[in-house]
């Protein structure tokens, strides 16, 4: 206890003297950002963990895009497993004049096997646990669907050719999947009614599930039994891989937000190191006196390190508390996208926050602090004796090393981690280079400037290294904000600007061959432009050049998903207007009956398909093989119907096909859609505008969340600036005292300071704007393929933000210098 007493007292004394506030704040910011992200991701991870088998509604599920053989359910029974079936698909639901695209789920009697199915009498009620799924002839609608259709329990809805009585509100279903973006509301019905609706048509996109539950050993045995018997397109999902899309999103969020928070730790680390260095320099004499008074080196180390550990603990705990409150904002922004209710966070993020605090302390505070024990006691008699100042390398080296370790860990993947570290280092080097060039350029201006500017320039140039650090730290913060606000806005505007004004906003799918004529007449009667109907068959890519293709062949997630999914294959004679052949040539009429494919160039690249390759598709039960004779570039932004893979016109028409079209529906023609849905109940309407609005809302929330995390980065950048100003405080005092003695007026000194900070802010803003423009350019031209538009506001905003923040912080940091009478300063130093 007594071992802690003196460090504690010293901590209190130094705190009172104001020496530790900056250090405390910088540590707090480092921990707060990381904790906010930690608390938030912890809550989501817990929500997923808790609901694991509820999310699946079973212990094991077999999923396919085609009806599953009866045999599977029978063998499951032999393994003592209970089974249930579900069939899900999108369809229009009608109630009177109203209609809405909904996700329909038809379930068998014993659904669900795991988790709770809850029904309620009124929307928004928590409801009661249902003993059985909807009876034949009835349907349960979720609150959203009831509201849109104005069809409360007791009412009726039409689905396909059948009218259903609305029996209850669907309050909760265990295996609600694919609702990460919550695009379509839900209707739950009995599987026995399914054939009567006539909605199951060839080419419809339907998901069949066989759910299984039983003793763990039986599940394991059955899994082993079933695995080799699966045909392509049949997938087993266990509890551990439930909700893969949410898990993937969570992993991304954890990685991305975590790394964003680590950037603020990095900057805060620089501020911490600067503050620790200053603290050390200011305590060299104290340490010498204590050595003189009998303190051993061990005692000095114990005193200072002990004091800092206490400070670090206090700052970390404060940071964790700030992070805890900050995570509510993150949960507000993102949580509702994932789960209705997030559990309270666990203690894990607290431990992580403490770890970050201690790592920052160990990495950035302790190394310079250790110089204190080496101060020669003789310094009390002879001040000129070199006290062995802390070295820059020791101040930053360990910290950067530890942070790199943290980044690796946060990335959760060695390769990704190394890329990120190298990328961060590269970006910092680039920014540092730009900052250095800026400082050098300013130095050249010095000879021509007036006295105030010359003083300011002299200060920036003389402390070149410190100036570059300040410009860099603040530049990174400004860069992050510019990217997330202006650059993002530019890219979005550029994309929206590239859309034609009357781009199709509705897609019709599932149109049956015999409905084509009726549909065109329906459009003509309503005075709508004739819809272009494209045939479509669904096929799974099984071989490229006779080599089997599986998801495992692709390291790229996107490619793996593409291979697992069924492709929509179409055929046509003429190249669509918004397509351009880039390699090979489009088919001539004499080739119409040849087995030729035209492939979109992007997907060809993703899947590694080249001109002349042969592609084999499994369509229904048959295989179809053709040769790639051209690659196309598609302008997807027209929102016309387009296909990744198109076949020559006379080779696929014997396969079961459905038709698809897109059209522009003016706002005021909503009634056209209602009539259309009533006339063609099996046709599914996809509201592209609504989906895009939804996606945009999600993107906006995600960006807001990222911006929010980067606010900690800006804060850390400002702390670096403040720390740098603080560390030059004594020097500034002496200078200004000498200048005052030489006759400089307060006004001249103030102008000098204003010049210095204006220049620093200017440089930060310029460096950030330069980097943001470059990144914006690369994103637009290289990644998103949008025309890049130069935005002068980017530069103006960057410079203004830089000058203003640096000006305010600089004035705040140096105001004491100007207030002091020069003699007082000269006497003290």
């Amino acid at each position: 206890m007594t071992a802690l007493l003196l460090p504690w007292r010293m901590l209190r004394r130094d705190w009172r003297a104001g020496e530790l506030r900056l250090l405390f704040l910088a540590l707090l910011v480092a921990v707060a950002g990381v904790s906010a992200v930690g608390f938030f991701t912890d809550r989501i991870a817990q929500a997923l963990q808790r609901q694991a088998n509820e999310l699946l509604g079973a212990d094991l599920a077999l999923i396919a895009r085609h009806p599953l053989p009866e045999e599977f359910a029978r063998s499951a029974a032999r393994f003592n497993l209970r089974t249930a079936q579900t069939v899900t698909f999108l369809s229009m639901v009608l109630a009177g004049e109203k209609n809405q695209l909904a996700e329909i789920k038809a379930v068998s009697e014993n659904y669900p096997l795991r988790g709770q199915l809850r029904r309620a009498e009124r929307p928004f009620d928590p409801g009661v646990i249902a003993q059985a799924p909807p009876a034949p002839g009835t349907a349960w609608l979720d609150t959203r669907l009831i509201n849109v259709l104005a069809a409360p329990p007791g009412g009726a809805v039409t689905l396909g050719t059948v009218q259903f009585k609305v029996d209850a509100v669907l309050a909760q279903e265990p295996d609600r999947s694919g609702d990460f973006f919550s695009i379509a509301p839900r209707l739950l019905m009995n599987i026995q009614d399914l054939p009567a609706t006539e909605l199951i048509q060839p080419g419809s996109r339907i998901t069949y599930r066989l759910q299984m539950a039983g003793a763990p050993q039986d599940i394991q045995n059955f899994r082993a039994y079933l695995q080799p018997r699966l045909s392509p397109g049949e997938k087993l999902e266990g509890v551990e891989d439930a909700r893969p899309e949410v898990r993937a999103a969570l992993k991304r969020a954890q990685q991305f937000l975590g790394l964003a928070a680590l950037v603020s730790v990095l900057l805060a680390g620089v501020a911490v190191a600067a503050a620790a260095r200053r603290y050390t320099l200011r305590h060299l004499d104290d340490s010498a006196v204590m050595r003189c008074l009998g303190a051993t080196q061990g005692r000095i180390t114990h005193l200072y390190v002990g004091q800092m550990v206490m400070l670090g603990l206090a700052a970390s705990l404060a940071g964790i508390v700030v992070g805890y409150f900050a995570q509510w904002t993150l949960a507000d922004l993102l949580g509702s996208l994932v789960a209705a209710e997030l559990p309270a966070p666990s203690w894990r993020p607290v431990a992580f926050g403490l770890l970050i605090g201690m790592v920052t302390l160990l990495g950035f505070v302790v190394p310079p602090l250790l110089a204190l024990k080496d101060v020669p006691a003789l310094r009390v008699l002879r001040r000129e004796i070199d006290a062995g100042k802390p070295r820059t390398l020791s101040a930053y080296g360990l910290g950067l090393l530890l942070l790199s370790g943290l980044m690796l860990w946060q990335a959760g993947d060695l390769k990704l981690g190394v890329y990120i570290i190298l990328g961060t280092a590269g970006a910092l080097l680039f920014l540092a280079g730009a900052a250095y060039a800026g400082v050098a350029a300013l130095t050249a201006l010095r000879k021509r400037a007036g006295v105030a500017w010359r003083l300011g320039l002299a200060n920036v140039a003389r402390r070149a290294r410190s100036s570059v650090t300040q410009v860099l730290a603040l530049g990174v913060g400004i860069l992050a904000l510019l990217l997330l606000t202006l650059v993002r806005g530019d890219l979005l505007a550029s994309w929206q600007g590239s859309l034609p004004p009357q781009a199709p906003n509705r897609f019709l799918i599932n149109i049956q061959p015999d409905q084509r004529q009726a549909l065109r007449e329906f459009f003509a009667r309503a005075d709508m432009p004739d819809p272009a109907l494209y045939p479509m068959v669904r096929g799974r890519l099984t071989h490229i050049n006779n080599r089997p293709v599986t998801a495992r062949d692709y390291t790229d997630d996107h490619a793996a998903r593409m291979v697992e999914r069924e492709f929509n294959l179409s055929w046509m004679s003429d190249l669509p207007n918004d397509n351009v052949v880039v390699t090979g040539s489009w088919w001539a009429p004499r080739d119409y009956d040849k087995k030729f494919f035209s492939v979109e160039e992007g997907i060809a690249k993703t899947l590694g398909i080249k001109l002349g390759d042969s592609l084999t598709y499994l369509i229904g039960g048959d295989t179809f093989t053709g040769v790639v004779t051209n690659l196309r570039k598609v302008d997807w932004d027209t929102f016309h119907v387009n296909f990744f893979v198109i076949a020559a016109p006379q080779v696929l028409q014997d396969y079961p096909a459905s038709f698809i079209t897109s059209f522009y529906l003016p706002e005021r023609r909503a009634e056209f859609l209602s009539k259309l849905v009533q006339a063609f109940p099996n046709v599914t309407v996809i509201d592209v505008a609504a989906i895009m609005a939804q996606v945009r809302r999600i993107i906006e929330r995600v960006t807001l969340a990222v911006e929010y995390v980067f606010l900690f980065t800006v804060l850390a950048g400002l702390l670096v600036l403040y720390a740098a100003i603080q560390s030059t405080q004594d020097e500034r005092r002496l200078e200004s005292a000498i200048l005052r003695t030489l006759g400089a007026s307060r006004r001249q000194l103030l102008q000098g300071l204003v010049a210095e900070f204006t220049l620093l802010g200017l440089l930060s803003g310029l460096v950030a704007a330069l980097a943001a423009s470059l990144l914006g350019y690369v994103l637009a031209e290289r990644v998103l393929h949008l025309p890049y538009t130069f935005n002068p506001w980017l530069w103006l905003a960057g410079v203004l933000f830089g000058v203003l923040t640096v000006g305010v912080v600089g004035w705040w940091g140096t105001r004491a210098v100007l207030r002091r009478p020069p003699l007082q300063t000269l006497r003290e130093i």
């Binding site: 007493l5 004394r13 003189c292 009998g294 051993t296 005692r299 006691a377």
Partner: protein
């Protein structure tokens, strides 16, 4: 910490009656390598100081006074010779050993006071006691009492910069005496004070020294101050010139 230096030193108190020297310098020398070759700071310094004595080390600026003080207190290491403090060979100890010895038997007073700016007067005086962690010693009470003796009971919670030069030096004197050292080193204690203040501080210094029966080694270039000490050691260009 079974053999705390303080405890080890206690029995030596009896030795003071047998008139063993408390400070003994033997053939001390110090050279440093300057820009123009080796530079002799001190050479062949031998003398001893008996317990209770007050000795002034005088000499012109640059004569080696401060160097000698640094060696006697073990703040610096000599090029030749040795220093015995209370019979203990100072340079047979390592740096930490010397620090412990300083903590247990030496008090310091500096020309520039060397108070810790972040600590109040009381805390500055408490510091040596706190650093020693002597069991059963209440640092606060001890410091309060000594500050009372130097007449600063009203100034306990002032920071150094809120005190006048004389007051700061009185705090420094209190800090030097609070551990009841056997040996006191003072380096130009009035160098930064005006004459009247300096005189009062010196009176206080001698008064406390007499009351605690400590040995005083005082470095000064002020002959009048030196004359108040029982003996003078005069340094001329790094050599002892007994006066």
């Amino acid at each position: 910490m079974a053999a705390h230096p303080y405890a080890a030193w206690r029995p030596a108190e009896e030795q003071t009656f047998q008139q063993a020297a408390i400070v003994q310098a033997e053939m001390l020398g110090k050279q440093v390598l300057g820009p123009e070759g080796p530079l002799v700071l001190l050479q062949d310094i031998s003398f001893s100081v008996m317990p209770g004595e007050a000795v002034a080390v005088v000499g012109a600026s640059g004569s080696g006074k401060t160097t000698l003080l640094g060696l006697l207190a073990g703040l610096d290491t000599p090029s030749q010779g040795r220093v015995l403090l209370d019979g203990q060979d100072l340079f047979a100890l390592d740096e930490d050993g010397r620090a412990r010895l300083r903590g247990s038997m030496i008090g310091f007073i500096f020309q520039t006071f060397q108070l810790l700016p972040g600590l109040t007067a009381l805390e500055n005086v408490m510091l040596p006691l706190e650093l020693m962690q002597r069991p059963g010693v209440d640092a606060r009470d001890g410091a309060r009492a000594v500050l009372g003796q130097v007449g600063l009971q009203e100034r306990l919670h002032h920071y150094p910069k809120q005190l006048s030069g004389g007051e700061q030096q009185r705090v420094a004197i209190a800090r030097a005496f609070v551990t009841q050292p056997k040996l006191l080193f003072a380096d130009e204690p009035t160098g930064n004070l005006d004459q009247a203040t300096g005189a009062r501080v010196i009176d206080l210094l001698f008064e406390l020294n007499r009351r605690q029966a400590a040995t005083l080694i005082l470095v000064t270039h002020d002959e009048e101050l030196a004359s108040r000490c029982g003996r003078r050691l005069r340094l001329v260009a790094g050599r002892l010139n007994s006066a």
